[in-house]
């Protein structure tokens, strides 16, 4: 076999192996998207009921709470960035990081100091490489976040917001995550989580113009609010984690699909080149044989005379 042909054959074998891997990854990601979507749907009843409860308290009790009070001169803000632990997901992580950086710049332009809290190894690596300070980091659960993970993330953030700014607390909490719109579309979005605007919550619950019943609070409005708001923040973070996981899997699926398609195309091109090389080899062999035979014939014809 000619050297050229052997090189093409080897490359085809290697690309075929890669194609098998990306195809498998695509299928795994596709099944995980469905699972993640189901988890988002399963967490919706809790979020809806919780939102309704928060609206109920906010109308019933006019209590001040650190999580709902706007600070007059906010000087420090926290940005929670949700990325994934693993890559191979196209622009998923870089979009989220870019969006977080834009937000950070905007906040700094407003004269606020920004504390970065990051979920996912990719984001942490990005910040560490640039030697930026990270206030808090979490890894290991971005593929399948559980409620306990959301609680672990929310804990220090709530603590930071309840602390006085002078003692290292923050005045605002922003969250940057990737919203799952559909299998094809995922957007990096930013939202201000805290201080909580109760009007927005009411709007979200779709109960803005509804007349709400006068609740009896057990033990008291203040206590209920104290217990309710951290749970609400946790549930919002949980939802963001789930959406981010679903988006990551969808992005992986898409990236792996195009990788598989590209590998297929590459194999096609390479087999064409290999065929041409083989054909060239055969043609050369034939012309060698023909040339050799006629040379031989000429030689015998000459000796006969």
């Amino acid at each position: 076999m000619g050297a050229q042909l052997r090189v093409y054959k080897r490359r085809i074998r290697s690309v075929t192996a890669t194609k098998k891997i990306t195809k498998a990854m695509e299928m795994i990601a596709a099944s995980r998207v469905v699972k993640a979507q189901r988890k988002v749907a399963a967490s919706t009843p809790y979020a809806t009921e919780l939102t309704r409860a928060v609206t109920a308290v906010s109308t019933g009790a006019n209590d001040k709470h650190p999580l709902t009070t706007e600070v007059e001169n906010p000087t420090r803000a926290a940005v929670l960035l949700l990325t994934s632990d693993r890559g191979l997901a196209g622009a998923f992580n870089s979009n989220a990081i870019k969006s977080a950086e834009q937000l950070t710049e905007k906040l700094q332009a407003e004269g606020k100091q920004v504390d970065s809290y990051i979920v996912g190894r990719r984001g942490i690596a990005h910040y560490n490489f640039r030697e930026r300070k990270i206030a808090g980091e979490w890894t290991g659960f971005t593929d399948e976040p559980s409620y306990a993970d959301a609680k672990a993330v929310a804990g220090p953030l709530i603590e930071a917001i309840e602390k006085e700014t002078a003692e290292g607390g923050v005045d605002e909490l922003h969250i940057v995550y990737t919203e799952f719109v559909s299998m094809m579309t995922q957007n990096a979005v930013e939202a201000r989580l805290l201080p909580l605007s109760l009007e927005e919550v009411a709007e979200e619950a779709g109960t803005k113009d509804e007349i709400r019943p006068l609740y009896d609070f057990e033990p008291s409005g203040q206590d209920v609010l104290d217990a309710l708001l951290p749970r609400y923040v946790e549930s919002r973070i949980y939802n963001a984690l789930l959406q981010s996981a679903a988006s990551k899997h969808a992005a992986t699926r898409r990236a792996m699909k195009s990788a598989t398609d590209n590998a297929g195309e590459l194999i096609n091109n390479l087999s064409r080149l290999a065929n041409a090389a083989r054909q060239a080899e055969i043609t050369q062999e034939i012309s060698e044989i023909v040339g050799g035979a006629s040379a031989l014939a000429d030689a015998t014809a000459g000796s006969d005379k």
Binding site: K39, A42, S43, P45, Y46, E49, L50, R52, A53, A56, V57, G60, S146, Y147, K151, R212, P213, L214, Y215, D216, F217, E218, P219, D223, V224, A227, L228, R231, S235, Y238
Partner: protein, 126 residues
Amino acid sequence: MAAELHVELVAADRQVWSGEATLVVARTTSGDIGVMPGHQPLLGVLESGPVTIRTTSEEIGTIVAAVHGGFISFADNKLSLLAEIVEMADEIDVQRAERALERAKSEADAAAERRADVRLRAVAAR
């Protein structure tokens, strides 16, 4: 007035149970509270403890669930029980809960001990 109320028992990651009931008993931070149809609008903080739901269905009868933290809210004859963790009494593995209780006691883990204790109480109340 209808003699039943609609109950939604919801955990953070799933909807556990929903249906009609005649009486719901839950433990709030200020004591046990029983909610019957037509109760005044209520919003309370729940303690870890068993929740008893007397359903209208003959087949199901009474449901008991172990609830770890959460809220109870009642308005317009609709009752929602929200908790981070909800376990139905018939889902609880008694032996496992007992083992967990012993382990928690030996390790002096108050939170785990309370969780295991609530589970066992929920099973006992069934």
